[in-house]
Symmetry: none
Subunit: 547 residues, 2 copies
């Protein structure tokens, strides 16, 4: 039986960018595109060229490999020609292959918000689609307020959709802009629309204002639409958009959908969806929702009691899908066996091979668990994990010791009467038995410490010359200024290798110090440095660093 | 037209207590019952008497005034008599007026997990209901795994429900225990069940494993059930239970339901639901979900410039319900994309009224945009926005000046030879022309600075005595340790007010300092403090702070 194709349209970088508290930088946008391509969506709406300098720059060149790079824009303004509408021109001149234009489809809005006639609005839709086609873009029309509009005036709402379709729009997207429509209404109204526009040309754009964006999207699919718009982790204006991270597993794994419909996300990508969801939270610098469907840390967790023993006997009795299909895992009482095989796999990945019955495994497992309880999280810090493993296995070279450091931040008036903030760090190192003291200023305490640490490493100095810090992230693990701080540092060198190190402490400077020292140590091992009186660094490091 | 009664059953204290990371104390339970009575649900399931000493003590006396106090338990074990089952005895001996017993209804589970015959399981259900009736309790049966069981063996699943009903159970609750059932399946299966058990005796218990617990509950209502089980803010095992805080407004305000069905929650209680939801988070000691349907801080927030001006003209154009009906409020966000109308609305909300043509608006808008370009983001920092506005308008009282501060972090070996990290802050303040110098240690530089800043504020000291930092967030705005740092601080006071302040600087200590000083200043204005030689604080502040 052939399955119909259902298309996934991601609007994380457009509607998602309208989320209260979320601002994507240029680098963030590049990183989000990479995640979306890993997941395998069909369309990536990258923003709104012309609306702000960042989005315009982002659309200066193509940013996707497999997905269709899509620009958002508005339909042509009534009363001016296509060639005379600067907003439209920016979208058509962008490097996007597809363009998604928002159009009003509620007669009330056409009159009140736009102040134009119903016919002028239809002309606008038609001419915009034609202009996009002429510019070689795949055109789509987002029918704003479609469901509310349909309930108020079905004839006019429909005529907007039909106009877009007949003009040649690849997709006519029915938007529940205010998010208040219920699934049964969505299904019924879509059922009416497909009598006039084929479902293979219809999309759904749902918001979560009643907590039913996912259900509304699926209701529209049952009604006949074949494109779903949504975002990573359901970010979006107000209560958010339909959550693609919840929808994709349901579409792939629940027979009602998987038997009839096919999506672009494969089983291998599905098995990475938990990681993708968390990597996106990392970009947003926020803690993942532990209770998120499919991907939350607690999504397959059982809190003891009656269920736990049944799960141990027969997992399927209390799990609606096997967690590994979505890259998640069961959490009951952590069986040492399961823990150990995870650990062996992780060690293997950083170039350390240990047999399953190696007695050092238990000690390492205990240490990792103890540190994770403290706030460490080695999932995102490969280099620190490799260093910890070598330390526990007795194979970590000792390049240098930090005897002490002192960091000072002072805010005061300078001689010129200006208020200035000065940061200074003093570091005492021991390299090959010789004490080296360095001092540096920086634009903050961590920057000063970083510069001081790297200022004089004796005979290792040349080996760290090309070490560069690329990113520095701070997460506060629990409330208040007295909380535990987790610092994650991304480093790279001239050869293009990248590695991640972590530090945890109640003290942000101390946490940063740990991550900085790990990064330097890792770099020295990678460079093959050998401490005086020790053998060569274990080969595993160089292997791991090549990743 | 008479509307049918739909009953609300809250299981926050039972299924909700199985949430990963949540443990209710006795006092918590009392507080949750008070919130639920304020909301006005029909049934409060207070726990599982006999399962642990806390629950047993909680059921030693009645704890509700209006709602039916309900105990959870298991149906009688097969192979022993009703009077010889200690678990059942504890439930029947409790002070609850109703008892909800979980029973297996999936033949596979009856055989594998219970290891009894299908007939024995039916006997168990019947005898348990009869025993509860005899003990004067209103009996309910939770049919565990009903939907999965029905799909595997509809005849047996149905016979469990019918047995409970015929034995006299007031409610037969269909449970989607694993949470993987889809709304269309729920509606179809409930449609079959109501042919055998009247809908007025059926309930639904849904979990959020596909993100559709709310949709599943409503699908069951459409299918005919007349009781919904759920929890406050959707807490519960794994991904949570159906969220009553999302369901209640939909049931009250959406015609599909409100025209046919009546619930126990009145309009006055509905207008308190935002406050109730947040008060519950307070008990859990966690920050409310800003994007929660109906009650989230962002649920009626608009960031986009195009939408904002339309909202100011005609709110209904971009809101599915008036926010005040659920005790929430409209927020037009001050952000990059904002124009003057956003700004006026925001000023109004923090108690500052300016005319549209006030020349100071332009200067303020320029300042906000300049600061946002620097990295400030006022949409999440109301208090800092209010302070900035008053500063620009010349109405910001000057309580104190920070002359200078110095923060030091030192890592060194102490006298005992242990490696320690010490943080110390020295602050020089000017209060009413008098210099005050304070020093403090903390577990990190920001903590030390916070303590030193608040140590001696002269005659204002008592006004900040109840100021408490609740949350501290750090975001690095661009790569490397030399990047810009944004600090967001959440504070509260004894009266329960919460406010957010922000600081931006390349220096993390400096950024934190700015946010800390803003929080203290805001608290002083809120307390009505008046600097020597100045008039009273502008009334707007107290207004804003009272929200």
């Amino acid at each position: 039986m052939t399955r119909e194709r259902l298309y996934l349209f991601d609007t994380t970088l457009r509607d998602g960018a309208q989320t209260n508290g979320i601002d994507f930088s240029f680098e963030d946008k590049i990183a989000v595109v990479a995640l979306l391509e890993r997941l395998g969506v069909d369309y990536i709406e990258g923003g709104y060229p012309g609306a702000n300098p960042l989005d315009t720059a982002f659309f200066a060149e193509p940013r996707t490999r497999n997905a269709t790079f899509t620009a958002f824009g508005m339909t042509k303004r009534a009363g001016r020609s296509v060639s005379n509408d600067p907003g439209l021109r920016d979208v058509l001149a962008s490097a996007a292959s597809a363009a998604c234009f928002v159009a009003k489809s509620w007669d009330y809005h056409v009159r009140v918000a736009l102040g134009v006639s119903e016919a002028e609005n239809l002309d606008s839709i038609r001419e915009t689609v034609e202009a996009a086609l002429a510019a070689g873009k795949e055109p789509m029309i987002d029918c704003e307020h479609f469901f509310d509009g349909y309930k108020a005036n079905p004839v006019y709402a429909l005529s907007c959709a039909v106009t877009a379709y007949e003009a040649g729009a690849r997709w006519v997207v029915l938007c529940d802009t205010n998010g208040g429509t219920l699934p049964e209404e969505v299904e019924r109204i879509v059922g009416e629309v497909v009598k006039h526009v084929p479902g293979s040309r219809l999309g759904i754009h749902a918001h979560d204002d009643t907590g039913q964006a996912v259900a509304n999207s699926l209701a529209a699919v049952r009604g006949g639409v074949r494109q779903i718009q949504g975002t990573l982790n359901g970010i979006g204006e107000r209560c958010g958009n339909a959550n693609l991270i919840s929808l994709i597993p349901t579409l792939k794994l629940k027979r009602d959908y998987s038997e009839r419909l096919q999506i672009s996300v494969g089983s291998a990508a599905l098995a990475e969806i938990t990681q993708i969801s968390r990597a996106f939270d990392e970009i947003l610098n926020r803690s993942p929702d532990r209770h998120a469907p499919y991907v939350g840390e607690a999504a397959f967790a059982t809190k003891a009691g009656i269920h736990a023993s049944a799960i141990m006997k027969e997992p399927a009795t209390y799990e609606h899908i096997p967690p590994e299909w979505v890259g998640n895992r069961r959490r009951v009482l952590v069986s040492d066996q399961a823990g150990k095989s995870n650990l062996i796999a992780e060690l293997d990945r950083v170039g350390i091979t240990l047999a399953k019955d190696d007695p050092r495994l238990d000690a390492l497992l205990r240490e990792v668990k103890a540190r994770e309880a403290e706030g460490y999280s080695y999932e995102g810090a490969d280099a620190s994990f490799a260093l910890l493993a070598h330390h526990m296995l007795g194979t970590l070279p000792r390049f240098f010791d930090v005897r002490s450091f002192r960091v000072m931040v002072e805010r005061r008036f300078n001689a010129a009467g200006e208020l200035v903030t000065v940061s200074e760090a003093v570091v005492k190192l021991d390299v090959d038995g010789e004490e080296r003291m360095s001092v540096a200023e920086g634009n903050g305490p961590v920057n000063a410490l970083d510069i001081a640490l790297r200022k004089d490493l004796g005979r290792y100095q040349s080996a760290i010359a090309d070490l560069e810090l690329v990113d520095y992230k701070v997460r506060i693990l629990n409330g208040g200024t007295g909380a535990t701080t987790r610092v994650l540092i991304e480093s790279r060198d001239a050869a293009g290798a990248r590695w991640y190190t972590i530090g945890v402490s109640p003290n942000i400077v101390d946490a940063s110090f740990r991550a900085l020292v790990d990064s330097m140590t890792y770099k020295l091992m990678r460079a093959g440095a050998v401490p005086a009186g020790e053998g060569a660094a274990p080969a595993g490091f160089r292997l791991a660093a090549a990743v």
